[in-house]
Amino acid sequence: MHEFAITQSILNIVLDEAKAAQASKITKINLVIGELSGVVSDSVQFYFDFLKKDNAAEGATIDFKQVPAEFRCRDCSTSFNPKDSLWICPDCQSSSIEVISGRNCYIESIEVE
């Protein structure tokens, strides 16, 4: 439900960046989505197509790069990517789990003309 606000935030950031670079057109937005960020790419795409009208991002496409979550088991120190969204160590079945990465969603770069 908050993808609309997130997409607005993405658009604000890329328009500011394009303006700072004195570019008139954004052609591509390279977005990195961590598995735990809660961001749904289909929803972002849907809102983006709606919001990009009449601004420098009108002709832009979004490239979504999905990054899997990375966990570490606090009991046996195994690092792993979760299977089926389960926060359980595949080696020792412990549920004492530390999140190493996968929380972030960020704009890696934009391509402009």
Partner: protein, 218 residues
């Protein structure tokens, strides 16, 4: 031409949250962001806390709901300053909604501010508001499996309150399993067990708040 951006999409929210925290720190206001599923007892816990601590601390509340001012009316009836925020379609409070509410509160006279988030165990975990501590309430009828089903929320929590102890004769709730799951995600978490109905456990919860408030935020 390619331009490197490397900006987190929540950076705008986080920057506003930091500003809110700055405002709260300036006035030494301990601020708790209270989150849970709908009906777990956020308002009840706040009302119980008001009852116990009102002679010791000056309290205020910001209420977040999709619609209505039912909760704000309950707080107002206690004579406590309260601001209701209706989020409409939004599933969570965001930092920019808090800023105007802070401007309307007499912060210089407040020691403890509760921000009651929208009832939801998913989205509120994503948005910092400027709080000092995140409090997550889980109630016994929801079941003991919530930390496993909504791990991110319990990873974010500083404090977890298990509410509705009074209903235990009617349900099964595995306290040891619940604690193990929460502490597995979050070893530093503090867990309280309370009943807002009978008042059980509320003293321990209020002692923790008192100690946090007295520690000073600046």
């Amino acid at each position: 031409m390619k331009i490197e951006v490397l900006k987190d999409i929540t950076s705008a929210n986080d920057a506003i949250a930091d500003r809110n925290r700055g405002t709260l720190d300036k006035h030494n206001v301990l601020t708790l962001n209270v989150m849970s599923s709908p009906g777990a007892g956020k308002t009840s816990l706040i009302l119980n806390t008001i009852d116990r601590l009102r002679n010791e601390l000056n309290l205020a509340v910001i209420e977040g709901d999709v619609a209505s001012k039912i909760d704000a009316d309950k707080i107002d009836s206690q004579g406590i300053p309260v601001i209701q925020i209706n989020t409409g379609a939004s599933c969570s409070l965001e930092a920019q909604m808090i800023t105007p509410a802070l401007n309307r509160l007499p912060l210089e006279n407040i020691d403890l501010l509760f921000i009651e988030n929208v009832g939801n165990l998913i989205c509120p975990a994503e948005f910092a508001l400027g709080e000092h501590k995140k409090v997550v309430i889980a109630s016994t009828p929801e079941g003991d499996d919530k930390p496993t089903k909504y791990p991110l929320m319990f990873t974010e929590a500083d404090t977890v309150v298990i509410n509705k102890l009074d209903l235990l004769p009617y349900l099964e709730f595995d306290f040891a399993g619940f604690r193990k799951a929460v502490e597995g995600l979050n070893p530093k978490v503090k867990i309280f067990e309370v009943s807002c109905k009978t008042g059980a456990g509320i003293d321990a919860w209020c002692s923790w708040i008192s100690a946090e408030a007295k520690r000073g935020r600046v």
